[in-house]
Symmetry: C2
Subunit: 227 residues, 2 copies
Amino acid sequence: MIPLAQTKKLLSEAQEDYLKQIYFLTEEAAVAGTQALADKLSVAPASVTLMIQKLAEMELVHYEQYKGVRLSENGTRAALEILRHHRLLESFLQKALGYGWDEVHAEAEKLEHYISETFEERMADWLGHPSHDPHGDPIPDAKLVLPSERGALRLGDQEEGFRGTIVRVGTQDKDELNLFRQLGLVPGVSLELLEVLDEALRVNCETGTFLLPQTLSNKLHLRRERE
Amino acid sequence: MIPLAQTKKLLSEAQEDYLKQIYFLTEEAAVAGTQALADKLSVAPASVTLMIQKLAEMELVHYEQYKGVRLSENGTRAALEILRHHRLLESFLQKALGYGWDEVHAEAEKLEHYISETFEERMADWLGHPSHDPHGDPIPDAKLVLPSERGALRLGDQEEGFRGTIVRVGTQDKDELNLFRQLGLVPGVSLELLEVLDEALRVNCETGTFLLPQTLSNKLHLRRERE
DNA sequence: CCAGTTATTTAGTCTTACCTAAACTATAGG
DNA sequence: CCTATAGTTTAGGTAAGACTAAATAACTGG
């Protein structure tokens, strides 16, 4: 009488980090490349290949040599679980423990690997089962389903004259976060796209008018405002 | 220009666990023996010797071959830090997140190694800087000073007729904790020592009269009640 | 005070988990 | 078709932590 296959976790911190990065990279590109992963994780490409092979053996990823890697169903589940941990932690640290907007990430990054399902659940209860974290990033629910993001548009894709409300600041970089906050570009703020330049956008909001480089403007997600 | 020596942590989970156990064992016995540590940590004695040598090199313990081991000043600091993490976590999980009396330990045992000083501090704030955790165990303060335990007596050391109030249930064992709770022996409860037998004590409290084996009665700490 | 027992340490291995450099190989774009 | 680039293989390294077996020290009871 063999017990049910363990959907349960036995993943190391490193393995979870690989899965998370594969998840992020395949949000845009179908498959994740070795080099891109190596950059994100600050390791040599050879290390990535090795780890990917291990993850493939565990059936957490689909892997084709020289082609790239993407998450399997189990891998996606694992990644979403980590994402849920991370984003609930960010919310909880901020709302329950008074962490600052830029302090939460590092702590969540560590703890996401070590909290139990119970901890996850109790945080969700405490927070009232939020659908988004303080940066506007969507939190998978207990069944690991992401809230639908209907109407969320990337600022970088819009045309001059576009007006919208920021719903998400899609970056984890501490400096970028601080910059956004200093510019007053946080979820809830209304904004107008004044001019599309070569490498930047000119935008206007409550706190003023700025030039926003493409790299940054692609990280802002907005909901269109009816004019 | 070399920066100040790092009193800061670079200890592995295993190392921290060794330090913690040495701390507990030397609460009663001046030095901790290899065998006792091996039992507590569920490893072979040889493994303990190896680790102790490593810790001695790091100047976290004082070690004399064949004699035993005790914490150095730095080692004590490290152990108290972990203890503080653990006990704050137990309190916080219970009070803020509604964990049950027996659920807290396992989670705290894991997380104590990974939370930051910030997390520690914020929990302490949230809890109002408690001096004791839900089991009555003392929590070192931010400067790692333990609250004085004046008047706390071990039940096992008392004579027939002794009456006192439980202030601490000094065990981490899940089954023992459950037993104590089922008997109604939790901090705050008043109790009378009826009879001292060979291997057990007969005690009486609100919830009834029981025979308590020595091994258990040594774990109850009480404050004498004025008659 | 010595012998047998027990506790402790040494020595030599093992495993796991990651990582790297260097050499080799596939692939896709000109 | 051919080469630059991205990806892979190979071989090897490190670090942590554990184990067994054998040697040695310490304790204890006669």
